[in-house]
């Protein structure tokens, strides 16, 4: 009883971690499966076939490349626009600033299906051809609110006197922005960009409504799940998971080392 009381926090933590990790482990384990039928739902036997030939399924790697392209462009567009909006909202007083501040949250609050259907209506009425561009426009739109929120938090905590100090020390407006404002706001901008990339990459609902005959990776997975799930999907999922974990661990190591060297000198 006393043992339980003393270790309850650890137990709860381990259970929660397990809750988070087990689904990912399932994805990984089943990437080494060799299913009997078309569905990769029950474990048969270990095999490296899928890992040896990840593009072995028709259209899979094409859709993956397309998703990467859209995510990259959407991240760029949303980050640039969102950063500018965030600076404008924090630094300047202008008419309708308050209402813009709350309107920015609207895409986050709107149910995604409704948003998707409305976007489709809009595109059809405008006579736009559905495809890469309509998907990109939609993605930039819904990523924007997240970038603005992330960057705004950072800019709000920035001391405006830092920029005054830069101007006082002979930095013109451009120099001040590049040398002081941007580096200090960078963590917020990076967080916004990562969020935008993740959101864009695995968005299904809005993309599915507005893609026309274009097929992104999430749409491909959905489509193939109707007829049978190739093991390669798990291979792609596992690979991305590993890349993401490596990036995070690497970043931690670098920042830890930097802290240590700064402290010892």
């Amino acid at each position: 009883m006393r043992w339980l009381r003393r270790n309850i926090v650890v137990i709860a933590g381990v259970l929660t971690l397990g809750y988070l990790i087990v689904p990912n482990l399932v994805v990984m384990v089943f990437s080494f499966n060799k299913p009997n039928g078309r569905f990769n739902y029950s474990w048969q036997r270990f095999s490296l076939d899928a890992w040896k030939d990840p593009c072995g399924v028709a259209d899979l790697c094409g859709s993956l490349t397309l998703s990467f392209q859209i995510a990259a462009w959407a991240t760029l567009g949303a980050t640039v626009l969102g950063t500018m909006i965030a600076f404008a909202l924090v630094r300047y007083r202008f008419r309708a600033r308050g209402s813009i501040n709350s309107l920015i949250f609207l895409p986050m609050a709107m149910p995604e299906v409704v948003m998707a259907a409305s976007l489709l209506t809009l595109f059809l009425n405008l006579g736009a051809r559905l495809g890469f561009w309509t998907v990109l426009i939609a993605h930039i739109m819904f990523c924007l609110s997240f970038v603005v929120t992330a960057v705004k938090a950072r800019v709000m905590s920035m001391d405006p006197r830092l920029e005054e100090a830069a101007r006082d020390l002979y930095a013109g407006p451009v120099q001040t922005f590049v040398r002081v404002t941007l580096p200090i706001a960078a963590p917020g901008i990076a967080a916004g960009a990562l969020l935008a990339f993740a959101l864009s990459f695995d968005d299904f609902i809005i993309t599915n409504f507005n893609a026309g005959s274009t097929v992104t990776f999430p749409m491909f997975v959905w489509g193939s799940a109707q007829r049978g799930t190739p093991v390669q999907i798990n291979v792609i999922g596992t690979a991305m998971f590993i890349v993401a974990v490596l990036l995070v661990v690497g970043g931690q190591l670098v920042s830890n080392r930097r802290k240590k060297t700064a402290a010892t000198t």
């Binding site: 101007r167 006082d168 002979y170 930095a171």
Partner: protein, 388 residues
């Protein structure tokens, strides 16, 4: 740009002419003229919201004056942005760049002006502020006092014509503040650059500055050397803000040449006409001021031993507090309800305890006269409440 400016001697005064700043209907700084001679240590002293920081920011170029002109030497810099003025600022919160190490913080100004070889100058400057070993640290790894010195080094390395200091010691504790006051004074003497120092701490202003301008409500109330301001305040605000003053409401009885005789609560007091900042006439009203440390205290039984020719007032000790070098008394007197007296503890008279009847006396030459139309309490209590 700054090289030529700092070498051209004589014409390097900072001159503000008719300068003012209004925000909407609020007058932060009312039109004022001010000249800061080259090479001087100048303090702008006042409570928060008196316009001192706004004045400083207008010199730096961070604030655009509503009216008036800023001259550096003979050059009108009113329209120049801050990065084109040969002026640098030490900010209140230091505003060190958190993403750069100390070395790069100090080198910032040189690099922006396209100077390539900064190593020697940065090293020299870090030595001047005794931080040579900290070059590779980040600002947040330094203590408040060290950050403060970095901020000074970062500004001074540019050899500005004028160094502006905006409450630079406000965030430091008392002991460190004393130390930095001496340090800043030493640096100023060493580099010979004009320092304009904004502070709400009257002691800080008096210790460091050659000239102090006391600001109140967007105006300069009085300007002069610390001793001059202390001995000859011209307004009740200055009298109360700089140290403590006892102010007695009095009526002018007669004027003998350069001596004014006044009556207050039955007592007859004299003061030199030359130390009255208000026009005097018989029957007019006047505030007679006297500093607490100029007053001598005698027990009522010894009243006979007081020499003639001194101003005297009777009263009763209401309170006394012993603070080591001196004892501070509060005297209840019909002339003035809370009279403050500071007595050096040379020979302590044990009869001088609360409740004792006493006679206060002082040399008439030490009194000063102020215009009675002013608020007698101006400048009181505003000193401590905004230290945060």
């Amino acid at each position: 740009m700054t090289e030529t400016a700092s070498t051209s001697r004589g014409g390097g005064d900072v001159r503000l002419s008719g300068i003012s700043k209004t925000y909407g209907s609020f007058h932060a700084v009312k039109p004022l003229d001010l000249t800061v001679p080259q090479g001087s240590f100048f303090a702008l002293l006042g409570a928060s919201g008196c316009g001192k920081t706004t004045t400083l920011r207008m010199i730096a170029g961070l604030e655009e004056p509503t009216t008036g002109t800023v001259f550096l030497g003979d050059k009108d810099v009113t329209g120049l942005p801050p990065y084109k003025r040969p002026v640098n600022t030490v900010f209140q919160s230091y505003a060190l760049f958190p993403h750069l190490d100390i070395y790069e913080n100090v080198a910032f100004g040189l690099r922006r002006r396209g100077i390539k070889s900064v190593r020697g100058q940065v090293g020299e400057m870090l030595d001047l502020v005794q931080l040579g070993d900290f070059a590779k640290r980040k600002p947040h790894q330094l203590s408040g006092g060290q950050q403060q010195r970095v901020a000074v080094a970062r500004a001074l390395i540019n050899h500005p014509q004028v160094l502006l200091l905006d409450e630079p010691l406000g965030a430091l504790d008392l002991k460190l503040r004393r130390q930095m006051q001496l340090e800043l004074k030493r640096i100023q003497t060493e580099v010979g650059i004009t320092f304009i120092h904004v502070t709400h701490d009257q002691e800080e202003a008096m210790t460091m500055a050659d000239t102090v301008a006391v600001m109140n409500g967007g105006l300069v109330e009085q300007l002069g050397s610390p001793a001059d301001l202390y001995e000859n305040p011209e307004t009740t605000f200055v009298a109360n803000f700089l140290g403590t003053s006892n102010l007695i409401e009095a009526e002018v009885a007669e004027i003998h040449g350069d001596e004014v005789v006044v009556t207050a609560g039955g007592a007859k007091l004299r003061l030199p006409a030359g130390r009255c900042s208000a026009p005097t006439a018989s029957g007019g009203r006047l505030l007679v001021g006297i500093r607490p440390e100029k007053i001598s205290l005698a027990h009522a039984d010894d009243a006979g031993t007081i020499p003639d020719g001194r101003n005297r007032i009777t009263g009763r000790i209401a309170d006394s507090s012993f603070i080591g070098v001196s004892t501070q008394y509060v005297i209840d007197s019909p002339v003035c309800p809370e009279f403050e007296v500071y007595a050096q503890n040379i020979e302590r008279d044990s009869r001088l305890a609360p409740g004792a009847e006493v006679v206060l006396h002082w040399n008439p030459a030490h009194s000063f006269g102020l215009d009675a139309a002013q608020d007698i309490d101006a400048g009181i209590e505003t000193v401590d409440e905004e230290v945060s």
